[in-house]
Structure formats: C-alpha cells, structure tokens
C-alpha cells in the first residue's frame, strides 16, 4: 500500500467519524458545537494533504485513466467542506450539523474515489 492510498483511507475513516459526530448532534437536537467546526476543519486539512499527495503522484508520472475525472474529484475533495462551513457560518442550529454531516460524508466518498481513479 503506497502513501497516498494510506492517506485516503485515513481521510475516509476520519470523515466517517465527523459524519457520525454531526449526525449525533442532529439526533440529540443540540445547537452545533464549536468543536464540530474544529474537527471539520481538521478533515479539510487531511483532504488537502490527500489532494497534494494525489497531485504529486500524478506529476511523478502516474497517469489516471481520465484526467478530467481525477482533477474533478481532487477539486471537489478540497472544496466541499469549506463551502459547507462557509454556508453555515451564521447558523448554529441543530440542522446546520446535518449540513456538516452531508459534507463530511461526501468528502469521505470523494477521498475513496480519488484513490480509485488516480
């Protein structure tokens, strides 16, 4: 298993953790806690590390089957969570945690897709 695959698994696992934490917030009907934002930004940091790793392996000569698909997934990987957090910036309601859950789940799925198509 190479480094990028390992990072992708870490991102997917951590995204699952963030998703579960955010869903719990919705189930418990609690206002969105600040720590949920913090662990979501941590997911974004991991996603950026994965994106850089995938781009580095591409520039080192690894050719994806479809370059446009690969670059699309890399772009989505780094953009999803900041967009969700920015959209919910002024909203600390219970359902804003649901938005974070959806974005974290999508980030995890995209991380796996990056690993598959690179």
């Amino acid at each position: 298993m190479d480094a990028v695959t390992l990072i992708a698994f870490i991102v997917a696992g951590y995204a699952a953790f963030v998703t579960i934490a955010a869903v719990l917030g919705v189930v418990l009907r609690a206002p969105r806690p600040k720590w949920l934002d913090q662990i979501s930004w941590m997911l974004e940091v991991l996603a950026v590390v994965l994106a850089l790793g995938a781009l580095a392996s591409w520039s080192a000569g690894r050719k994806p089957e479809s370059l446009s698909t690969f670059l699309g997934y890399v772009g989505a990987l780094v953009c999803l969570m900041p967009l969700a957090l920015q959209t919910m910036r002024g909203d600390r309601s219970t359902w804003s945690s649901g938005v974070i859950a959806a974005a974290a789940l999508a980030t995890g799925v995209v991380a796996v897709r990056v690993m598959m198509v690179r």
């Binding site: 479809s66 446009s68 698909t69 699309g72 989505a76 999803l80 969700a84 959209t87 919910m88 909203d91 309601s93 219970t94 359902w95 804003s96 649901g98 938005v99 859950a101 959806a102 974005a103 999508a106």
Partner: protein, 137 residues
C-alpha cells in the same frame, strides 16, 4: 425579529436537502459534462439522461429553496418529476440494458451513488408533507 422573511431561508431539515442537492448538482453535472464531451457516441441515451438528471438537480435545489421560503408549488411538481425520472430510467436500465452500455446517474435507481438519487425525492416529498414549518405550508 424572530419572523423569517421570504428572502431568507429559515433553518430546518431542508438545509440538509439543499446540501445533498448541491452535491448532486456538482456530481451529476461534472459527470455528464465529461461523458458528453469525451465519449458521447459510446452511450448517447445514457449520457443524455445524465444531463437530464443534472438539470433536474439544479431545478430541485431551487424548488426546495422556494418551498422553504413558503412557495411549495414548484417543489411538489419538481420532486414528483425527479422521482418519476429515477424510476423510469432505473426500470429501463434493467429491462433494456442495450440502451445503457455505460451507466447514467439514474441507472439501476442510482446504484452508483448508493441509491441516494432514489431516496432524495422521497425525502423531499416527506419534508414537504411533514417537515416544513407551518408558515411555509
């Protein structure tokens, strides 16, 4: 001022729906764009249906947003159209597989996306019936 204005989307489960619709606008839109631009001849029916799915998600996003602001008419129509599209394309992809040499977004009821395309309009309709704030009904 706790009253919500029509221009501002209020908080509620529709925020999650809007997020998932936005993700599907991105996913289906990018997928259909790549399919149509790079290999349309391989599966013209499937790839055209991917474009229709992407357009439906754009319309669905606006429909949910307008329903959250109190105007549910467009959403009622749009969500039924979306559900019908998923069901019709899902059935066709199983009954006439020769039309689908490659998958479209709604092939086999959205199996490539964990069946979320089939669940999404159902959840939207449930929200319209039960979850929407009283003022928006």
């Amino acid at each position: 001022m706790t009253e919500t204005s029509p221009a501002k989307t209020r908080s509620g489960p529709h925020l999650v729906l809007l997020t998932v619709y936005a993700i599907f606008v991105l996913a289906a839109g990018a997928r259909s764009l790549v399919q149509v631009l790079t290999r349309f001849d391989e599966a013209p029916i499937a790839y055209s249906l991917s474009v229709v799915a992407a357009a439906t998600y754009v319309a669905g996003w606006f429909a949910i947003r307008s329903a959250a602001n109190g105007s549910a008419g467009f959403a009622k129509v749009m969500l039924w159209i979306e559900l019908a599209g998923v069901v019709v394309v899902g059935v066709l992809s199983l009954v006439v597989p020769s039309w689908f040499p490659d998958d479209s977004v709604w092939s086999k009821f959205g199996i490539g996306y964990g069946f979320v395309p089939a669940l999404l309009p159902i959840l939207g309709l449930l929200w319209l019936w039960r979850g929407r704030p009283e003022g928006a009904r």
